[in-house]
Symmetry: C2
Subunit: 197 residues, 2 copies
């Protein structure tokens, strides 16, 4: 393949990333080419390393480089509390707030009748087994304040009722808001003021 075809293919593929369109993809590719040593080559290397090493944690669904993620294997993280989030972006948002010291469970989405996503398409059975097998005292449902997010929270609450303390993020999460858009302070306040389900 010729260099100009590679460049065209690179632009087409970059344009498929969320937040980028054809024009911003063209600008990004030209910028990378201009900064070949600083940007294009290191980006290619990093992407290659990540593609080869990245995998989902078998316990919580977080991404990392081994069978279990850094958080699940960290001795600094408590085992009593599990914070349930929809996806890894939400886990990252929680970690940026740096207020939660327990472990996570990444569902991989929400229940959705429209998209035919049921409990088995998500990591819900694994959550139920973790609660049975680990020394879990509290499950914090940190799902987005959307219809699907709240439907999912209620479904999980039904599954776990009576087995563990169930709480949800409360104060500060705006109606219809998504966790990944919130500032750290709001997330901190919501966690501190969490309420019983």
């Amino acid at each position: 393949m010729s260099a100009s075809r590679d460049i065209d293919a690179l632009i087409d593929m970059m344009a498929r990333l969320p937040g980028l369109g054809p024009r911003s993809a063209r600008r990004a590719v030209l910028h990378m080419i201009r900064k070949k040593e600083l940007l294009l080559t290191p980006l290619a290397d990093l992407m290659h390393h990540v593609a080869v090493s990245v995998r989902e944690c078998e316990t919580c669904g977080n991404i990392g480089g081994a069978r279990l993620c850094d958080i699940c294997t960290s001795e600094k993280r408590g085992t009593g509390e599990i914070c349930v989030v929809e996806d890894v972006a939400d886990l990252w948002a929680m970690e940026r707030a740096a207020v939660f010291k327990g472990r996570y469970h990444v569902l991989g989405g929400t229940l959705s009748a429209l998209d035919a996503i049921g409990p088995d398409e998500l990591r819900i059975p694994r959550l139920v087994s973790r609660v049975a097998e680990e020394n879990v005292t509290e499950v914090i449902l940190a799902l987005n304040a959307t219809v699907d997010g709240q439907t999912t929270a209620h479904y999980i609450a039904d599954q776990l009722e009576g087995r563990v303390r169930l709480t949800s993020l409360a104060q500060g999460v705006p109606i219809g808001g998504e966790l990944d858009y919130l500032d750290d302070g709001t997330i901190t306040a919501a966690l501190r003021a969490r309420k019983e389900l």
Copy 2:
């Protein structure tokens, strides 16, 4: 380096691309990881190929994979007309309009007293020598309608006056507008209605 550090480094580097910030870089990286086979691995490969093969055309400054670019070596492109543009993004914009059948000269920027960019920082001496050496009958100055773009156009016109027919894109280029933002029809109209300097 651990996978999570690679992921963090990848996000940091993606956030430095034009049009992306930290949040959109995080979303883009998660999206790429979710579509590892379709997106992350092929993107890494393409970036690597481009980084290894891309170079500037010795004649016109366009990017390609050889000493001379695809346009300079194409037998379908006329040698009589040279279209002078600021950068490769503008060349791409002209090519998308598909109305110009000659060759290009990419300056690599504009003259700028503020940024201390003089004629020798740009590809202006090479343009003057091309006009002397090739069978050039017309130089079309397709520079942006900005102050620096027009200053540069006047400087080039001074250098080439009396040696070649000099024209500029005219009708349709909005005041303060940049070529790369225009639709194909506007560029076509501007080229067709080009006027003598």
